[in-house]
């Protein structure tokens, strides 16, 4: 009987604590900066074009083969009178979010820091009626970075923080 009384005391003491649950759809907790939802392409604001050159490195490294990359000659390149130093630029890009396993490898292999994991709630709330709607095209992948809705975190691999402690 003593044990049961003790158990009841625990539940009672919890009753007086502040609730830890959150009213989810109405309230979104702040996500940590490193949060990994799904990969997004980044927008180069200085030259006003995507960072991505369509080099296929991420496509080849993706373990589940959910990316498709097509490149084209950059119409904005210096040789054409533009102001970009990118000779090639991304033409079409698809990522199938339904297949992506959020492993971060595409971000790690990109030499141009052109891709980052989405760390906003938009990356998590992706309910759709049809799986095909989860195949994101270039425009959808770029829009968040283009309008400045994302503060991306691109990890520096293997670098330790010496200032830690």
């Amino acid at each position: 009987m003593k044990g049961i009384a003790k158990s009841l005391m625990v539940t009672l003491s919890t009753f007086t604590r502040k609730p830890v649950t959150r009213d989810y759809p109405n309230y979104h907790r702040e996500l940590p900066e490193r949060d990994r939802a799904f990969p997004l392409l980044l927008w180069d604001k200085e030259i006003d074009e995507p960072f991505c050159t369509g080099c296929h490195a991420c496509e080849r490294a993706c373990p589940v083969e959910c990316m498709t990359v097509l490149m084209k000659d950059n119409p904005n390149h210096k040789s054409n009178g533009g102001d970009s130093s990118r000779r090639k630029i991304i033409d079409k890009f698809w990522i199938d979010y339904a297949r992506c396993m959020r492993c971060n490898i595409c971000v790690e292999v990109c030499n141009f820091d052109a891709i980052a994991m989405n760390n906003t709630w938009q990356g998590h709330e992706l309910s759709v009626h049809d799986r095909k709607d989860l195949v994101m095209d270039l425009e959808q992948l770029l829009v968040q970075s283009h309008v400045g809705a994302i503060k991306e975190w691109v990890p520096v691999l293997g670098q330790s923080n010496e200032t830690n402690e």
Partner: protein
């Protein structure tokens, strides 16, 4: 069995055994697991488990992937303790590629593995509470505590369950600047959580009546079935890879191997409960000794290549010995990969534990092994 149509004078009633199918879609089977129970009245006469519903061929898939790509699949073989699963895999790669892991990376790995053990055991306590019939209370409490740990993992690696954070050679990136304070904060709530559970369940007479003396397995049988982890320690076998074959920094740490006496369901529960105190102890020691430093070796090769050969690496995951057998013929991917999963071996003893128990206890016995079906089927 066919019942005899003529009732003989000595046997007024002929009874028939009844087959009951549990699962594969059943909330108490902790995943997609099916068992067929043969019952006589209320007593279980036989259990036939069927596994394989969650088979994804992760081992075979990894043979087509390079070492970095394989880590993600290892996470998914053991989703409740992904850090521990990754650890065996990257340690196997390190052994084949001859990489030396720097101190700091080893300490951080030890901390994360122990935190993962805590979160996994909380999950067990909650789910086990439901199996026993205390719906709600312990489960929700367990999730509250587990949530704090998972939030911490998210701040470190970016993901809540599939971390992909350990890499051959060390860690993917360094922990955040406030790592130590955050771990201490989490430990504080965890300690309180363990105490709550202790008072809520361990001394509760109803809980004890429900769990004591059922699902017994002797030490000899447990060894014969190849059990490991808390499930075998509850039967009185002091088998712990962390102690017997220290990896990471466990040789320098001071902790006890918790051993039970009776080998029943209650002991398997209580061993895990006490083990959580040990994990907290380990993490505190690690935090004290964690120094700034490198997280990957100085001379990390750009392309990771393994030397031809084979290794078997075993580590102590929350559910027991998680082993990776890797054969390499050189190159950047394993030639053959085999996962030795603790759950599969522990599950073998299910029949022995549940025969001659009441049917209501069969689920408790299953829950007490703490199975994760993705690890059983891979």
């Amino acid at each position: 069995m066919v019942a005899s149509p003529q009732a003989t004078p000595e046997h007024e009633f002929e009874t028939q055994d009844l087959l009951i199918n549990v699962g594969p879609q059943h909330p108490s089977t902790h995943g997609v697991f099916r068992m067929v129970l043969t019952i006589d009245g209320e007593v279980v006469k036989d259990v036939v488990p069927y596994i394989g519903y969650l088979h994804r061929g992760a081992e075979k898939l990894c043979e087509t992937m390079d070492f970095r790509q394989g880590i993600g699949f290892m996470d998914r073989t053991e989703y409740l303790a992904a850090h521990n699963a990754e650890l065996s895999y990257v340690m196997a790669v390190e052994a084949l590629a001859g990489l030396e892991v720097p101190e700091r990376a080893q300490w951080i790995r030890t901390i994360l593995c122990e935190l993962n053990r805590l979160s996994s055991h909380f999950m067990f306590l909650g789910a086990f509470g439901i199996d026993v019939g205390v719906f709600g209370t312990p489960f929700i409490y367990a999730w509250r505590e587990r949530e704090a740990i998972i939030d911490l993992f998210e701040e470190i690696s970016g993901d809540r369950m599939m971390y992909a954070y350990f890499r051959p050679g060390g860690l993917a990136w360094d922990v955040p600047l406030n790592f130590k304070e955050r771990v201490r904060e989490v430990l504080k709530s965890t300690r309180q959580g363990i105490r709550d559970f202790d008072e809520l369940l361990t001394q509760n007479e109803i809980f004890r009546a429900r769990t004591e003396g059922i699902g017994y397995i002797s030490a000899e049988d447990a060894i014969d079935w190849g059990m490991s982890g808390p499930s075998i320690r509850a039967s009185g076998v002091p088998l712990d890879v962390r102690r017997d074959e220290p990896y990471l920094k466990y040789a320098e740490l001071d902790f006890d191997v918790i051993v039970g006496e009776n080998g029943d369901v209650f002991d398997r529960y209580y061993c895990r409960m006490l083990e959580m105190h040990e994990s907290v102890k380990i993490i505190e020691q690690c935090l004290e000794r964690l120094q700034p430093g490198l997280i990957v070796p100085d001379k990390m090769p750009r392309m990771l290549r393994a030397a031809p050969g084979e290794v078997y690496i075993r580590t102590e995951a929350p559910r027991g010995e998680y082993g990776i057998y890797m054969v390499s013929k050189g190159g950047n991917r394993p030639y053959r990969l085999k996962v030795r999963s603790a759950c599969l071996s522990n599950l073998q003893a299910l029949r022995q534990m549940s025969v001659d128990q009441y049917i209501a206890d069969a689920i408790i016995v299953l829950g007490s092994i703490d199975i994760v079906l993705s690890e059983v089927d891979r």
